[in-house]
């Protein structure tokens, strides 16, 4: 498997040097080449990788190799620490408005998992004794409204719709009003998938934002996304000033380098991880676990932690 190869390669490249003394520039260069390739294979964006490698290099050269580790492990340790730092060190929670309802706006590319995540969030919040309302603002995709209605039914959360003949901005406004009247303290707005380069639809999101003043604007991103994740996240963030990210389909076997790329360019926290198609399968996002997933070296890392 690709997964083992990075640690193996590092051990091979640096294993010969006995675990004593300081890391030399040459050790670090050899190791960094392997790390760079591993990150690229994991779909971390090229530019993000370049910067990351430079930062780590600076820190690694001249650092003491711990008694218990080989130089290879020492490099992995530093890489992992820096990666975890970059990912954000702790869990990041949803923010709530002091003046309810808390409006949560879901946005993202087509098929990323917005509608499903909207339902999952509603269920999660319901379990925390909130009274969420789902609002159907996707008037474009065939059966999008019906999909949200089915999702709402599955989690027993009401869904506000006005059909597909109304402007999504008006639907969002009416949805929030409806929520206020009906004692909903959370309003989750599902929107149509759109390309970040679609000027009209990006403007539509800006107008929705202006109209309903969301407390959270969550960008939903597929964890299988490749190099383009930075462009997408950067543009959505520029236009909407998102408050967080949901990374979906993490139940797959993608290494999920997109997480690192997005984090690096937007500096916005990843708040949730989608772990399946079922409504219960939404989890808080753990940045530290993501770092070892991207590196693909969970076993090596736990070994190092014990050292």
């Amino acid at each position: 498997m690709v997964f083992e190869s990075l640690s193996e390669k590092l051990q091979n490249a640096l294993g010969k040097l006995k675990g004593k003394g300081k890391l030399t520039e040459k050790d670090v260069d050899i190791a960094m080449r392997e790390v760079k390739l591993a990150l690229l294979e994991a779909d971390v964006n090229f530019k993000v990788v370049k910067k990351f490698i430079n930062d780590v290099k600076e820190r690694a050269v001249g650092s003491e190799v711990m008694e218990s580790l080989t130089p290879g492990q020492q490099v992995i340790k530093i890489v992992n620490e820096e990666l975890t730092k970059l990912m954000g060190e702790s869990e990041s929670k949803l923010e709530f408005s002091s003046n309810p309802p808390t409006v949560i706006l879901m946005c993202g590319l087509q098929g990323a998992g917005k509608t499903t995540t909207a339902g999952k969030l509603a269920l999660l919040l319901k379990k925390q004794n909130k009274r969420p309302l789902l609002v159907a603002c996707d008037v474009y995709r065939p059966a999008a409204i019906k999909q949200l209605e089915v999702v709402g039914e599955r989690v027993s959360v009401p869904v506000f719709t006005m059909g597909d003949k109304n402007d999504p901005v008006d639907i969002a406004k009416a949805g929030v009003e409806h929520g206020k009247k009906n004692g909903n303290d959370i309003v989750i707005i599902d929107t149509a998938g759109r390309l970040h380069i679609d000027e009209n639809l990006m403007e539509e999101l800006q107008n929705i934002k202006e109209a309903v003043n969301p407390r959270e604007i969550l960008l939903v991103v597929d964890s299988m996304t490749g190099q383009d994740a930075v462009t997408v996240a950067e543009t959505f963030n520029e236009k909407l000033d998102i408050t967080g990210v949901v990374l979906t389909k993490l139940d797959g076997d993608a290494r999920g380098g997109a997480a690192l790329s997005i984090r690096a360019v937007t500096e916005k926290p990843i708040k949730f991880a989608g772990m399946g198609e079922k409504m219960e399968q939404l989890e808080p996002f753990h940045p530290d676990r993501m770092a070892s997933r991207i590196l693909g070296m969970g076993d090596v890392l736990s070994l190092i932690e014990k050292a």
Partner: protein, 292 residues
């Protein structure tokens, strides 16, 4: 189209800025390929071959390197010398559309159904996704738009049974093409892949006389995971073609270069939007143009 032009201009001026062909120039070209999701391994192969060619042909002008790079990628794409036309002749034909979640299977089926009907084929669609919320209603709407018939059961029913009924209906109604939608599934889910295999076996058993096309739909924004996806799907249901969707975005879909040669299965169609007409034949020429 705008973004594409911007990209080409950038590379041209980058190349012009080089006085001679050196390592740095190759590094920049490497960067372009990697940021198009071509993947490290394939990129290195392409660049290595490029270097050899540039040397052998005594190329001196950096501008000419581009021509050779394009040719190199085209050659890689054309190593798969399989027909890129959909396999639907002779009638009757059955198409199974598979892939991970949210890539564009159902939408692609709507587009294909419309094109085939316009070509004078009698088309039937089977709603094999009985799992996702409103997947059946979504496909019904597409059948409506494409003006073709649909066979559907209710949500939660056995997908293999839907495909079985679809086949019986296609036979009875003397359809030319039966297109089967399936639920999105991640390739690492054993039970869901077994379910897909069951559907595949129903097709083999119940419709042996039909021409078969099994299309794997891949989202152009996907990174290197697409290769793992394709390998597993190929094992489970013998993929015969790839559809690359969402090429109207800024992602280049470079992963299909490796994917094609790994599977020896050609990319046949590309999705370039959400509308019913936004489906095109895969053209290696314009695909390469979009990358460099």
């Amino acid at each position: 189209a705008k973004t594409r032009k911007g990209m080409t201009d950038k590379i041209d001026s980058m190349l012009k800025s080089y006085g001679k062909i050196d390592e740095e120039l190759f590094d920049e070209l490497e960067e372009i390929l990697i940021t198009s999701d071509v993947g490290v391994e394939t990129t290195m192969e392409i660049i290595d071959n490029l270097k050899t060619n540039v040397k052998e042909n005594k190329i001196k002008d950096p501008i000419d390197v581009k021509k050779y790079l394009k040719q190199e990628i085209k050659d890689t794409l054309n190593k798969v010398d399989v027909d890129r036309k959909l396999k639907i002749e002779p009638s009757p034909a059955i198409m199974l559309v598979v892939g991970v979640n949210g890539v564009g299977k159902t939408t692609t089926i709507g587009k294909m159904a419309c094109n085939l009907r316009k070509d004078g084929k009698k088309v039937l669609i089977a709603a094999g996704d009985t799992f996702r919320a409103a997947a059946i209603e979504q496909l019904e709407e597409w059948a409506n738009r494409a003006n073709v018939d649909i066979v559907a059961h209710s949500e939660g029913s056995d997908p293999a049974a839907v495909i079985y009924d679809g086949i019986q209906a296609a036979k009875a109604r003397k359809c030319d093409v039966l297109i089967c939608d399936t639920a999105g599934r991640l390739h690492n889910k054993k039970n869901l892949m077994n379910e897909l295999n069951k559907i595949f076996r129903v097709v083999e058993k119940e419709y042996p006389e039909a021409t078969k096309e099994v299309l794997l739909v891949v989202d152009a924004t996907t990174g290197q995971n697409a290769i793992l996806q394709a390998k597993v799907f190929k094992e489970v249901c013998d993929i015969t073609g790839i559809v690359l969707t969402k090429l109207d975005g800024t992602a280049k879909g470079g992963v299909v270069i490796a994917l094609q040669s790994e599977l020896n299965v050609p990319v046949k169609l590309v999705g370039v939007g959400e509308g019913i007409d936004d489906l095109q034949n895969f053209d290696p020429e314009s695909f390469v143009e979009a990358i460099i």
